[in-house]
C-alpha cells in the first residue's frame, strides 16, 4: 500500500496502461510539458515521448473527432478535456459518432477511447469549471461512464477504462484530486475480483438508510455517516454510472428500506431521478419512505462564493436522512 493523491493515482494508472500497450496514446490540451492543468499527466510526455503524449489544439470537437480516427487506426486514445464544461463543443462527435460507431458498423469498428475530464465543483473556480454533466452521457446509449471517488478507485478504474473495448467517459471529481488515500499498486486488472470498477462499492455498511453517491459526494456521505447520530447509514459508491450497478443498490435498499441519493448535478432529470425511479419500482414493497434526492438545484452553477449553498453537504445529507427516517 502506498499513500498518494487521486491525481497521482490516475497518473500511475495511466503509466501502467501506457507501459502495457504501446497503442495507448494521450491527447489533450496542455497535457505535455505542463502535465495538464491539474498535473494528472505530469511527467508522462517526458517518459513516453511526444508521440505518446500529444498536445492538442484548442478545439474539443477536433480532439474527439480525430481521436475517433486514431481509434479506427488501432490506437487507444485517452483524451483529456480540460474541464467538464468544455466537453460541450465535442458533444456532437460524442453523441453522434463515438456512441454509435460500433453499432452502425455492425460491430466491426471498436472505439476503445477514454474521454477523461475533471468535473464537479467545490474548488472555488470560475464559471464553466464546476459542472456535473454526467446525466447527458448516461442517457446516451453506447457510452460507458465511470467516476472514481478515491485514489484506490481511481487507480483501478482508469486502467479498466483504458482496457475496455467500448468508449468510456471518465469523470474525475476535481475537488478530490488532492485527497490522499492508500493505493495498492500491485492490484492489477487481472486480479481485482470483487473490485470490478463496473460494480458499486459498499464503502460503509449500515442498516437504516442506503445512501447512494458517486465521485465527489462519496466522501461527503461517508462524513455524514460518521456524523449521523443513532442512524446507521450504508454508503454506496456507484463508481460506474453507465451501466449502473442496480443490483447492489436494490439489494441494499431492500435491507434498509430507505434510500437517499446524493449528487452535485441539478436535480431535474439528473442521474438521481433514474436511480430513484428504479428503487421505487424494484423495491416497491420494501420501501418504507419516499426516496430522497439531495442534489444541486435547477439553476446554473453559481459564482464560487455561493457554491457551498448550491452543493449538497453533510447537513443536507443528514436532513434528508432525517426525512426518510421520519416516514
Amino acid at each position: 500500500m502506498t499513500t498518494m493523491t487521486m491525481a497521482r493515482a490516475i497518473n500511475e494508472g495511466l503509466r501502467v496502461a501506457m507501459d502495457a500497450d504501446s497503442k495507448v496514446v494521450l491527447f489533450g490540451q496542455d497535457i505535455g510539458r505542463l502535465g495538464g492543468v491539474f498535473r494528472v499527466t505530469d511527467g508522462l510526455q517526458k517518459d513516453f515521448g511526444e508521440h505518446r503524449v500529444m498536445d492538442a489544439p484548442l478545439a474539443e470537437s477536433g480532439i474527439v473527432g480525430t481521436a475517433i480516427g486514431l481509434a479506427m487506426r488501432g490506437y487507444r486514445p485517452v483524451i483529456e478535456i480540460q474541464f467538464e464544461a468544455f466537453v460541450y463543443p465535442a458533444f456532437d462527435q460524442i453523441v453522434s459518432q463515438v456512441a454509435k460507431m460500433h453499432r452502425r458498423s455492425a460491430g466491426t469498428v471498436r472505439l476503445p477511447m477514454v474521454m477523461r475530464m475533471p468535473y464537479g465543483g467545490g474548488i472555488g473556480a470560475v464559471e464553466h469549471h464546476s459542472e456535473s454533466p454526467e446525466a447527458y452521457f448516461v442517457h446516451t446509449a453506447g457510452l460507458r461512464v465511470l467516476t472514481p471517488s478515491d485514489p484506490q478507485s481511481a487507480y483501478l478504474t482508469i486502467q479498466q477504462a483504458i482496457a475496455c473495448e467500448d468508449p468510456v467517459i471518465y469523470l474525475e471529481p476535481k475537488r478530490r484530486y488532492w485527497d490522499k488515500g492508500e493505493v495498492d499498486l500491485d492490484t492489477t486488472l487481472g486480479n481485482t475480483g470483487l473490485l470490478s470498477p463496473w460494480r458499486a462499492r459498499i464503502m460503509r455498511p449500515g442498516t437504516d438508510v442506503s445512501v447512494i453517491a458517486y465521485g465527489p459526494m462519496v466522501r461527503t456521505c461517508l462524513e455524514a455517516a460518521e456524523a449521523a447520530d443513532g442512524v446507521a447509514l450504508e454508503v454506496i459508491d456507484l463508481q460506474s454510472l453507465s451501466p449502473l450497478d442496480l443490483a447492489t443498490v436494490v439489494e441494499s435498499v431492500e435491507r434498509t428500506g430507505r434510500a437517499v441519493i446524493v449528487h452535485e448535478a441539478s436535480r431535474t432529470a439528473g442521474l438521481g431521478a433514474e436511480i430513484a425511479a428504479q428503487i421505487a419500482e424494484r423495491c416497491f414493497y420494501s420501501l418504507e419512505a419516499p426516496v430522497q434526492r439531495v442534489t444541486g438545484y435547477d439553476v446554473p452553477y453559481p459564482a464560487s462564493r455561493l457554491e457551498e449553498d448550491f452543493l449538497p453537504d453533510l447537513d443536507r445529507v443528514l436532513t434528508a436522512v432525517d426525512r426518510v427516517m421520519e416516514d
Partner: protein, 359 residues
C-alpha cells in the same frame, strides 16, 4: 496561393485532351477504360436506386448524378492501403473501394446504418452529420503517420460542409500535425436549397492557404484532371508534406435526395447547362476518338450495367430484414448487464405475442 479562377482541366467538355502546366496524367488504355467503366456502373447504380426508391424499395436515395468523375477519379487515385471517408452521396467512392452495390442500398433501404466493414474496405461508413467524418479522416491520417507508413487518407465533403466548425477544425489539426490527408470537397453548387455563396463568400479552394496548406481547383467533371490532382495531393501527403484541399467543381444534377423538390429553388436551365458538361460523355468521346475504346466495348459495359441493374433489383428485395432483437446487438463490444436485461425483457415480450400467434 495563386488566385486562379480556371479549374485544372485535362479533358475539355468536348472530350479534347489538353495540357496543364502543373498537372498531367499518363494512364494506360486499360486504366482509362476502367475509369469509364466505373463511372457507367456508378451512374447505373444511381439511376436504379432512384427508381427503386420511387417503387418504395428504398426509403430515400441521395443521387450522385453528375458527380461521377469527381468521385471515381479521386477514389481511383488511392492505393488499397489508403483510407477514404465518404459522405452519404459518395457512392462512386464506396464502389471504387470495393463496397458492393447492395451493401450501399442496405442503408437506404433502412436495414442498417452501416453496410460494410470499414476496416476491411478501408472506407468509412457514410456519414450523415455534415462534417463529422472530416475529423475522423484527419485522426486516421495522424495514425498513419504515427505508424510510419506512407499511406494517406482522403476525406470527402460538400460545399455546404465548409461552413461547419468540424471541417475547419479538421483543417487546423491536419496542418498542425502535418497529417497525410487530402480534403476532397465536391462543390456541387448546392447544399440542399442553398447556393455555395451562402456557405462561403469566396471560392472554397481559397480556404486552404490560411490554414497553412495548398488549395487546388479542379474541373470535377473531368475524371482525368480529378485523378491527376488527387494523385498529386496524395503524393504530397505520402512524402510528409501534409494536407491539400481540393475543390472539385461539379454539379448536383438531381434533387438533393428523393425527398427534395429542387424546382422550388433552382432554375431548370442551370441543370441544362451542366448537362453539356457530362463527365461520362466527355470521357467516352475522348476514348472513342483516340481509339482507346470502341462501340463493342461501350456495349459490353452497358450490358454489364444492365446485368448489375437486374441483380440489384432482384437482390434488394431479398435483402434480409434483421431480426427485431438485433437492435440490441453491437451497442457495446462488451454488452453489459443492464442492456442484457432489456434484451431479455424484449425477447420475453415478443415471445408472448408469438404464443398468441400474433407475430
Amino acid at each position: 496561393m495563386t488566385a486562379e479562377t480556371d479549374p485544372v482541366q485535362l479533358l475539355t467538355p468536348e472530350g479534347q485532351r489538353v495540357a496543364h502546366p502543373d498537372y498531367d496524367i499518363d494512364l494506360s488504355p486499360g486504366e482509362m477504360r476502367d475509369l469509364y467503366r466505373r463511372m457507367v456502373m456508378l451512374r447505373r447504380l444511381d439511376v436504379e436506386a432512384t427508381a427503386l426508391q420511387r417503387q418504395g424499395e428504398l426509403g430515400i436515395w441521395a443521387s450522385c448524378l453528375g458527380q461521377e468523375a469527381a468521385q471515381v477519379g479521386s477514389a481511383a487515385a488511392l492505393r488499397p492501403s489508403d483510407f477514404a471517408f465518404p459522405t452519404y452521396r459518395d457512392h462512386g467512392v464506396a464502389l471504387t473501394r470495393g463496397v458492393q452495390p447492395l451493401q450501399i442500398l442496405e442503408l437506404y433501404r433502412g436495414l442498417t446504418n452501416g453496410g460494410w466493414d470499414p476496416l476491411e474496405k478501408r472506407c468509412g461508413l457514410y456519414t450523415i452529420v455534415i462534417g463529422n467524418q472530416v475529423l475522423h479522416g484527419v485522426g486516421y491520417a495522424m495514425g498513419q503517420s504515427l505508424d510510419g507508413t506512407d499511406d494517406a487518407t482522403i476525406t470527402y465533403f460538400g460545399d455546404g460542409a465548409t461552413a461547419q466548425g468540424d471541417v475547419n477544425e479538421g483543417f487546423v489539426f491536419a496542418s498542425v500535425f502535418t497529417a497525410p490527408v487530402v480534403f476532397f470537397c465536391q462543390n456541387n453548387q448546392w447544399a440542399i436549397s442553398q447556393p455555395r455563396e451562402r456557405q462561403s463568400a469566396v471560392p472554397i479552394h481559397q480556404r486552404a492557404t490560411g490554414f497553412g496548406f495548398p488549395g487546388a481547383f479542379v474541373d470535377g467533371n473531368d475524371v482525368l484532371a480529378v485523378m491527376a490532382v488527387t494523385r498529386a495531393a496524395l503524393e504530397r501527403a505520402r512524402s510528409g508534406n501534409g494536407a491539400t484541399l481540393i475543390e472539385a467543381y461539379t454539379y448536383r444534377m438531381g434533387a438533393h435526395t428523393t425527398s427534395d423538390d429542387p424546382t422550388r429553388y433552382r432554375m431548370g436551365d442551370e441543370v441544362e447547362r451542366w448537362r453539356l458538361r457530362d463527365p461520362i460523355e466527355r470521357l467516352k468521346v475522348y476514348l472513342a476518338r483516340e481509339g482507346i475504346a470502341d462501340r463493342t466495348y461501350f456495349d459490353t459495359i452497358d450490358r454489364e450495367a444492365d446485368d448489375m441493374a437486374v441483380t440489384l433489383r432482384e437482390g434488394v428485395r431479398r435483402l434480409p430484414v434483421p431480426e427485431a432483437v438485433s437492435i440490441f446487438d453491437h451497442v457495446y463490444a462488451e454488452e453489459h448487464s443492464l442492456l442484457h436485461a432489456q434484451r431479455a425483457e424484449f425477447e420475453e415480450y415478443h415471445a408472448g405475442f408469438v404464443d398468441q400467434g400474433v407475430r
